[in-house]
């Protein structure tokens, strides 16, 4: 397994989600004991706003350092060669014509390994975010459920 130069961003984001999950786990009993049971919701609201701000910061930083915009642009403008020279020569021998080929314009080479790694990293970020979202969703469902029973 290989780890890319963008792994620290994934780690940073994962730590952020873990920290938040830990804080929510630790604070819920404290708040619900000393405040009323529904009072965890305003605290979650504050924490979630901060989570949005920080995760946007991490993703923006990753975007800048990995040059995602530039990569996207080069992928969009990339035109693969229609046929390799050997295939073309085979074609011409088959057809039997001596028509001259159009001069080849050399497209900039793309490092496919790098693109593959970046895609994997983006998928991991998406997976972590989705995991955190599910965690919050479950927590909120439980809270709303218990609030409904109480009130």
């Amino acid at each position: 397994m290989q780890v890319s130069p963008w792994s620290p961003y994934i780690e940073c984001l994962t730590h952020l989600y873990e920290n938040l999950a830990n804080v929510i786990d630790a604070q819920e009993p404290v708040v619900e004991t000393h405040y009323s049971p529904g009072q965890m919701l305003p605290l979650l609201d504050i924490l979630q706003k901060e989570c949005d701000r920080l995760s946007a910061l991490v993703i923006k930083s990753l975007n800048e350092n990995a040059g995602i915009a530039k990569k996207l642009h080069s992928v969009k403008t990339y035109t693969p060669p229609v046929a390799t020279p050997s295939a073309t020569s085979a074609m011409t021998s088959l057809i039997g014509s001596s028509a001259s080929r159009a001069p080849e314009t050399k497209a900039p080479e793309l490092d496919l390994k790098e693109y593959d790694r970046l895609l994997q990293d983006l998928a991991t970020i998406s997976q972590r975010s989705s995991l955190y979202k599910r965690f919050m969703h479950d927590r909120l469902s439980v809270m709303l459920f218990s609030c409904k029973i109480l009130f």
């Binding site: 890319s4 620290p8 952020l16 873990e18 790694r117 965690f135 479950d138």
Partner: protein, 195 residues
């Protein structure tokens, strides 16, 4: 009849509550003071009026009361109690300010124990929203500091095949930890859903 007895009990408790507040403020026992304020704030306003009238009567009629020994005693107590009531009016905002200040000092000193201690007192003084906001800000500041420090430490490295094994160790450990936590949450959710 029952209602009257209940009212008398409430009045006695109310008086105790004010005395308790006075004492706890002197000894700087903020938990006790906050608990007393909480009790005071939860009383029926009519009882507060009764106690005030009672004290005002006791003081107002002191010319008549002075004629007997018991009356003198009552008048003295009444004066004392009125003094406490006046002080008590000052105590509540004073206590709120003290708790706010102590909370801020604890936040600056990163004293987790004291922060939690004063956070609990906010709800007793009916300052729940303020307490939650302040506590939320403290928690988010902690999380933000960690996250920003980590983000700041990241040095951009160009992609190459040779630099890839550097971060491997911590990454897997963290992922497993998060998964384990998710499992626990799921278990808790299932229990609540079933019952």
């Amino acid at each position: 009849m029952q209602l009257t007895i209940r009212q008398v009990e409430d009045i006695v408790e109310f008086k105790n509550c004010i005395h308790g507040l006075q004492e706890s403020m002197q000894t700087k026992d903020y938990e006790k003071a906050a608990a007393n304020v909480h009790r005071y704030l939860s009383f029926d306003p009519s009882i507060v009026d009764i106690v005030f009238d009672d004290v005002a009567d006791g003081v107002g009629d002191r010319e008549i009361l002075k004629s007997t020994e018991a009356g003198k005693e009552r008048s003295k107590r009444g004066m004392l109690f009125l003094f406490f009531l006046k002080k008590r009016k000052l105590f509540i905002p004073e206590l709120k300010d003290i708790i706010r200040n102590e909370f801020d000092v604890a936040v600056q000193g990163h004293d987790d124990e004291m922060i939690v201690r004063f956070f609990k007192l906010f709800s007793l003084l009916k300052l729940g929203d303020e307490g939650l906001t302040k506590y939320g800000q403290y928690l988010t500041a902690q999380i933000a500091a960690k996250c920003e420090a980590e983000l700041h430490e990241i040095r951009p490295v160009p992609f190459s095949d040779s630099n890839v094994l550097f971060y491997f160790k911590t990454k897997t450990k963290r992922s497993f930890f998060f998964s384990a936590q998710r499992q626990i949450t799921h278990a808790g959710f299932a229990v609540v859903a079933v019952h």
